[in-house]
């Protein structure tokens, strides 16, 4: 168990960081629409232009190399998984028209008839087997498939997957948009460069051109198995500066939609009549704890820090109120549980914090918080500044250490930071995935637990329990246990991006992961 668990945790740490790198790699803002009295009618065809902040980073469009947010929101237009999730988080059929869990270790998937890749070749069981094996072999996917046993074809349309241990996360992982199914023939024939710069999948769009740092254009996949996209072409324009993107949208010169991270700009645009998508909050400002030495080795000091935090004030000051208090599973995840007064150590209580510090014999501890000081993370800095003030009220001195993101990343992976390390999180396919890095004994970042810790037992139970109701109960217990022992500190959770559009498009619906899945169903109005 421990080897598998460590493997899961280690790879999950890398995957999570890869994702958060791009999730936070840049910021964007835009403006946009005119006020309209009534919704305009949809028209077929046309070109939809979406102003984005950043293009796919390392790994490009290769779904097995790239797992960053910036990559995912481009690849989901082209590649698809076996299963999918609806807005409520319910798993629904996708490339597999049905699936069955035969026993705790065995699943079968029946492929949908008539699915073809954009080159016209049909989707086969060989493609599915190849794709899943490729995911298992990839650095980003290894965490998600650590318990995977064999993947075999039962017939021309049925694939059987076995696991070496009961793993309730697997089905969620297969419904993750990152678990892309590729054409074995195309993928093997393409060079590494071609896989990253071009793409060929079963999705609603086909990549047409990608001009580095300028734009990426897609055309509708004429042989798409589902409902064909309403627009003829889709264009992602890469404009790094938020104000420039806002101006682009406001000008009405062709940009239909845009996204950005700054809630202040969102409010302005909303006042101007633009539609703001209600993107789910999955970007948690998570502070990882190094409890190997220093004051945070004492659980009472950790609890005091948590009690000294006024999370609502952090949200109000740092995010203008546009974020949510959150436990480890982000508030916007369908599995997310809202913290309340009964949540241990979550209620702001300065006197309680001081009492805990006195019990710990640390009345005025000094704690270091390392955070990314790059301009791309500028929206996170107000939080640490306010936090410093809040902790000072309880007698805790918070030393702020700003470092480039690359150094923060290295510290995290190596477990070499002092006291606290701020690493923004991203959406994970399964609720257990959010805990893997801090509750897997042996990992550098799991410094607050041992193999005997009750949180670890609950975490393992969550991974191996299939019944959803039971899982929810275990998850609630786990969240409470983590809040009690303060294995990690979450300041708040906000969306990865705020999506904004005007009245030149209609029918767009945001997805819980901010991957822009809804673009295929979006139509132009003019």
């Amino acid at each position: 168990m421990s080897t598998i668990t460590r493997g899961i945790g280690a790879a999950a740490a890398v995957a999570l960081l890869g994702l958060s790198l791009a999730a936070c790699a840049s910021s964007g803002e835009e403006a946009g629409s005119s006020e309209s009295a009534a919704p305009l009618a949809a028209v077929d065809g046309g070109s939809l232009v979406y102003a984005s902040d950043v293009q796919p980073i390392t790994g490009g469009l290769d779904p097995y190399l790239a797992s960053a947010f910036a990559n995912m929101n481009a690849t989901v237009q082209i590649y698809e998984p076996l299963l999918a999730k609806d807005a409520d988080g319910t798993i629904i059929p996708w490339l597999a028209e049905s699936w069955e869990q035969v026993d705790d270790l065995t699943y079968t998937f029946t492929l949908r008839d008539g699915v073809t890749f954009s080159d016209g070749s049909p989707l086969t069981v060989e493609d599915v087997i190849f794709s899943i094996e490729s995911m298992r072999a990839s650095a980003a996917g290894a965490a998600n498939f650590a318990t995977l046993g064999e993947v075999t074809a039962l017939d021309d349309s049925t694939v059987q997957i076995t696991t070496v241990a009961p793993d309730a996360t697997l089905i969620n992982v297969l419904a993750y948009r990152g678990s892309a199914i590729v054409s074995k023939a195309w993928y093997e024939a393409a060079t590494e460069e071609e896989r990253q710069q071009t793409a060929m999948g079963t999705g609603p769009f086909v990549l047409d051109t990608w001009t580095d740092q300028v734009s990426m254009t897609f055309t509708a996949n004429e042989s798409y198995w589902g409902e064909a996209p309403s627009v003829d072409t889709l264009e992602f324009d890469f404009i790094g500066d938020e104000n420039a993107r806002a101006a682009q949208l406001r000008q009405g010169s062709g940009t239909d939609m845009a996204w950005f991270r700054d809630p202040t700009q969102v409010s302005s645009l909303e006042e101007e009549g633009y539609t703001v998508g209600q993107n789910a909050a999955t970007r948690s400002l998570t502070m990882y704890i190094n409890a190997t030495d220093g004051p945070l080795a004492d659980v009472k000091v950790r609890q005091a820090v948590s009690k000294a935090m006024d999370r609502q004030a952090l949200i109000d000051f740092a995010m203008g109120g546009l974020a949510e208090p959150s436990l480890v599973v982000p508030a916007g995840d369908p599995w997310g549980i809202e913290p309340d007064e009964s949540t241990p150590n979550y209620t702001h209580d300065v006197d309680g914090a001081k009492a805990l510090l006195a019990e710990a014999g640390e009345t005025s501890p000094t704690i270091q918080l390392t955070y990314a000081s790059d301009a791309a993370f500028a929206l996170d800095v107000p939080m640490v500044e306010v936090l410093q003030q809040q902790l000072a009220e309880a007698g805790i001195t918070l030393e702020l250490v700003g470092k480039p993101w690359t150094e923060v990343l290295q510290s995290y992976i190596g477990g070499t930071w002092t006291d606290l390390l701020l690493v923004p999180g991203v959406y994970q396919p399964d609720p257990a995935s959010y805990f893997s890095t801090v509750l897997t004994p042996g990992l550098p970042m799991a410094t607050t637990v041992t193999a005997e810790s009750p949180e670890v037992a609950l975490y393992m139970q969550l991974r191996s329990t299939f019944d959803e109701a039971e899982r929810a109960e275990i998850l609630a217990q786990l969240e409470t246990a983590v809040a009690e022992n303060v294995n990690v500190l979450v300041a708040y959770t906000g969306p990865q991006r705020y999506e904004v559009w005007g009245d030149t498009v209609t029918g767009y619906e945001v997805d819980p992961y901010t991957y822009r899945e809804g673009l295929a169903a979006t139509a132009k109005t003019s």
């Binding site: 740092a318 790059d374 301009a375 500044e385 410093q388 003030q389 250490v401």
Partner: protein
């Protein structure tokens, strides 16, 4: 003695910088507000309590701007001093020693100058780490090559002058010749370059802070204040205007000082009431003195254009 009445640039430069220094030193001491604490509501406008309003975290802008002025002045002044010391030593050594050492040192300075200043500072910051001292070191290294080149240029001419040759024949040790005979004759361009280097240091510090790699949170810096306030520039433009004015005043102040010093130390402009050579002669030990040499600052190679020493700044 410098004739201040005829040198408006010098007076204005000193006045601006002195005013900012007083503002940066005194206001944080006497103000009732802590520059890093929330003391009001978010984005308050100017009022009797908060003269310049508050920022996005409810901190007093008037005090934070004073801290920003203090940081900018301290960093520009101290880093330019270090740059001058380093650059002078390298330039003097290269110019007087000549040969391979000169070649080696000058190619080294060219390499540093060939790298855009901001990029170079970022790399140094990554290597050394965050903090005030690493920032100073980065800025000092960036500024030093300019001083080295400006120092070397007159030294190349002066080293063959009679008074230097005479000193060498008289057995005066070379380090002493360099310090007591050559250095005093090359000070004017160095002083001018000091002020213009400080001016550029203000801009580089602001740029680094804007990029998140200069002055760190929660301390205030003009660059950081601009970066933080960009989000609110539609609703509260004052938040951006204030640090921009501060940067403008600082750079204008240093540049006026540079112009003023140049004018003041230029005998052609007639601003020097008393030549410095007369006093220096008595202090010099054995060997020929400067008085015996017909060397005058204006005889030396003209100072290179000091305003362009930061490549890519």
């Amino acid at each position: 003695m410098i004739k201040l009445k005829k040198n408006a640039a010098l007076v204005a430069g000193i006045a601006v910088l002195a005013a900012l220094a007083l503002y940066g030193l005194i206001v944080p001491l006497v103000s009732q507000w802590d520059p890093n604490l929330t003391v009001g509501m978010r984005l308050e406008g100017p009022s009797a309590e908060h003269w310049l309003g508050t920022d996005h975290l409810g901190r007093d802008n008037f005090v934070r701007l004073a801290i920003a002025a203090r940081y900018a002045l301290a960093i520009s002044f101290i880093s330019s001093i270090i740059s001058m010391v380093l650059g002078t030593a390298v330039g003097l050594l290269a110019g007087y020693a000549g040969g391979r050492l000169d070649n080696l040192l000058m190619r080294g300075t060219e390499i540093i100058m060939a790298i855009p200043a901001i990029l170079f500072a970022l790399v140094i910051r990554v290597i050394i780490g965050p903090g005030f001292v690493p920032l100073l070191i980065a800025m000092a290294i960036i500024g030093a090559p300019g001083f080295a080149r400006i120092m070397r240029s007159p030294i190349l001419v002066l080293r063959d002058r009679d008074f230097v040759v005479a000193a060498e024949i008289a057995g005066v040790r070379k380090p002493w010749i360099a310090v007591s005979h050559l250095l005093p004759n090359a000070t004017t361009p160095m002083l001018v370059n000091f002020a213009s280097t400080a001016s550029l240091a203000v801009l580089i510090e602001s740029s680094l802070s804007f990029l998140g790699q200069g002055v760190q949170a929660p301390d205030a810096s003009a660059g950081r204040m601009i970066q933080e306030s960009m989000r609110f520039m539609n609703d509260d433009p004052l938040l951006i205007v204030l640090p921009v004015i501060l940067i403008t005043l600082l750079t204008v102040g240093w540049n006026l000082l540079a112009d003023g010093v140049q004018m003041a130390l230029s005998p052609k402009a007639g601003n020097l009431a008393v030549p410095t050579r007369g006093r220096r002669r008595k202090k010099l030990p054995g060997g020929p003195t400067q008085a015996t040499a017909p060397t005058r600052p204006e005889d030396a190679t003209p100072a290179p254009p000091v305003h362009h020493d930061y490549v890519g700044a």
